[in-house]
Assembly symmetry: C2
Homo-oligomer: 397 residues x 2
């Protein structure tokens, strides 16, 4: 049984704040601060260039990839860290398309994170080989999978609504029609049980600054099924994906397996923070996280609907059909969220009208949910959001 | 006049170490440690998601890009930070090729850093449009520029020998024949005066963990001339390069100018360390750095040649024709460098036979050069390198 009071003590949470935005940026793990400071002082400071060997910097992308892999049902040696999620989408998609060169359709949905669609668009603009990006509604995905589709590219959990795709069923259907799958786990990794091996997913990518608490701009990950790992061409063929990076050959020979998905020099500060953050998961059972997440989300939905009838639920009501977040819709969503934040309840806003709350059992409990609903009720009942100061849009929403 | 004793006090240098590898990884700036710890504690810890607005995280890639820009002759608003150098090479090359769609040759040289060539190779593999990557010897570049060439892609300073290309002359010739230029400044930025605007360079990229001391895996930069910035298609079209990232549109519209070269969520820890590291350059005149760098390199060459006749100079003898590093060649280079490192003189080895030393006036002076030559003389004269322990190859050389 996971001890959530123990996991909570792992994080720094500011006094007076109810943090329901760990689905966007996880809070600071206390050990990450220590780990990064040690890196600066003892590794970069003392070892200098020798840190690449002696402090194991060069192998961090694989070692930490294996740690992330444990949380998403990926065998050791199938996940590697690096770059950003957008870059990893591009890399995976470029490789996936080449596995089915005779097909020209990438199928995605309108619930995919826009950057995934933008990266696909950018790749197709370079290829100029007549591919098209077909975007359907989330509920139409299953029927839209057919033998014209090269790659099915989806985000498992919708960033806006929390709607959860059935990865296993969609992958099975895709494979039955010769379609390669690419799953974005941005809102899945650390949020709910994921089993890439069991689902037989082909490619998966994700970020680590959300439920994995790696810090702002923490490195991304990429998974390639062992069926393809030694076969795919890494379009982003950087030196650290070379079979022998330090031979400095003029021609590229891909490294074995997942190593070939490495690109450039890895971001060691970010990797160190993430490495420390992953310690929080050591004694955690993801099934416990899932149960508690559904319980907290259900409680929030029940309380908000009872107390704030002017808000419309924007997430699936059935806990099994969503990730670990809840959205409510309101035309003044932006101002409502600003009013919440000014009272220490931090969620976020997603255009055009969603206020979004992430529920992260590692450090959020029932008392937090009830405090958030109290504040939200006050704001809605007394129209406290209706103030010019809350309507001024910031750069980042 | 630059005060190099002042700049030296900016860095932590371990006792007993003579660090001649700042061309590979710059040492720890003391303020970077403080800056990153403050980021962890006060920004990530206290502000959480609000850090993106309130701590200015979202604008760091542009703000720091302008700081780097000052060191390479790039006007404000023409440089942006992000990703790795390999990714930035890919991004710049993809954009550059589309400016001259009718031409099919990328011209580079054997002195380019292999990852640049690998990334070009990877891009061409995706394009499948009949492009070829033509690699000539460094001294043949000028005559190889002709009207068949789409893009001239060079690293200004050869990572192995330190040989310096004449950026201005080669760019001028390239332009006279309709060729777009892409300059890699990995071994130039912070090493010698660079004036991208004066040279009329089209694209430039570089890393910041060498002479700019940003730390292991620090973010890269990309420059696009204002002539093209609003015109190029960013093949890596991520959400932060979108005109309105937080509108979450399903379709991509590139941001204005250099903003479109942003891709995914920026690596804030790495950017914060780099930001602090750049403070070292505030009162530094790059012409002073250049003069002192040539003086130190010349001293090293003179002393080593006098005392170690068995080593062959692998760098240009004329200081004006090289960057800020010196290589010597020897078949046992690897073991020689290991012996040096074991005695606290840190340089590095570049296959097949180069021992490489970087001279970085911000924190290296004449006494360091003389100490290094003393140790090297002892190792060479007494064949101290000839030991099994020094011949065992490490992962990173």
């Amino acid at each position: 049984m996971t001890d959530f009071s123990k996991t909570r003590s792992f994080f720094y949470l500011p006094e007076g704040t109810t943090y329901l935005d760990g689905n966007s940026l996880g809070p600071l793990p206390l050990s990450a601060r220590e780990r990064v400071d040690r890196l600066m002082r003892e590794e970069w400071g003392q070892l200098l260039i020798k840190g690449w060997n002696q402090a194991g910097w060069m192998t961090m992308p694989r070692r930490i990839g294996d740690r992330v892999g444990k949380l998403i049902g990926a065998a050791p040696g199938t996940v590697v860290m690096g770059d950003t999620l957008s870059i990893k989408v591009y890399q995976a998609l470029a490789s996936a398309l080449e596995l089915v060169p005779e097909r020209k359709v990438i199928l995605s949905d309108s619930g995919n994170f826009p950057s995934d669609l933008y990266m696909a668009h950018g790749l197709l603009g370079s290829l100029g080989k007549g591919h098209t990006l077909k975007i359907v509604e989330p509920e139409e995905v299953e029927t839209a999978i057919d033998e014209t589709v090269a790659v099915l590219m989806l985000t498992e959990v919708d960033y806006r609504t929390g709607r959860l795709h059935d990865m296993k069923a969609l992958t099975r259907k895709a494979h039955s029609l010769g379609v390669v799958t690419l799953w974005d786990l941005a809102h899945s990794a650390g949020a709910l049980p994921v089993d890439l091996a069991e689902a037989e997913a082909d490619f998966a990518v994700g970020c680590t600054y959300k439920y994995l608490n790696g810090g702002p701009g923490a490195p991304a990950f990429i998974y390639v099924t062992p069926r393809y790992a030694d076969k795919v061409r890494p379009a982003l063929s950087g030196w650290l994906g070379h079979e022998q990076p330090f031979a400095f050959d003029l021609s590229y020979r891909p490294g074995g397996g997942i190593d070939r998905m490495r690109v450039g020099t890895p971001p060691i500060l970010g990797l160190a923070a993430l490495d420390a953050a992953l310690d929080a998961w050591e004694d955690v059972d993801m099934q416990d996280v899932r149960r508690q997440s559904i319980r907290l989300c259900d409680l929030f939905v029940t309380e908000v609907e009872r107390r704030c009838p002017m808000l419309e639920l924007g997430s699936p009501r059935d806990g099994r059909k969503r990730g670990s977040q809840i959205s409510f819709l309101h035309p003044e969503g932006y101002a409502i969220m600003q009013a919440l934040i000014s009272r220490g309840v931090i969620g976020d806003f997603r255009a055009p009208n969603a206020i979004r709350f992430g529920f992260t059992p590692l450090y959020i409990g029932e008392a937090d949910v009830l405090r958030a609903t109290d504040v939200l009720e006050d704001i809605m009942t007394n129209r406290l959001w209706d103030s010019a100061e809350y309507k001024q849009r910031a750069l980042v929403t």
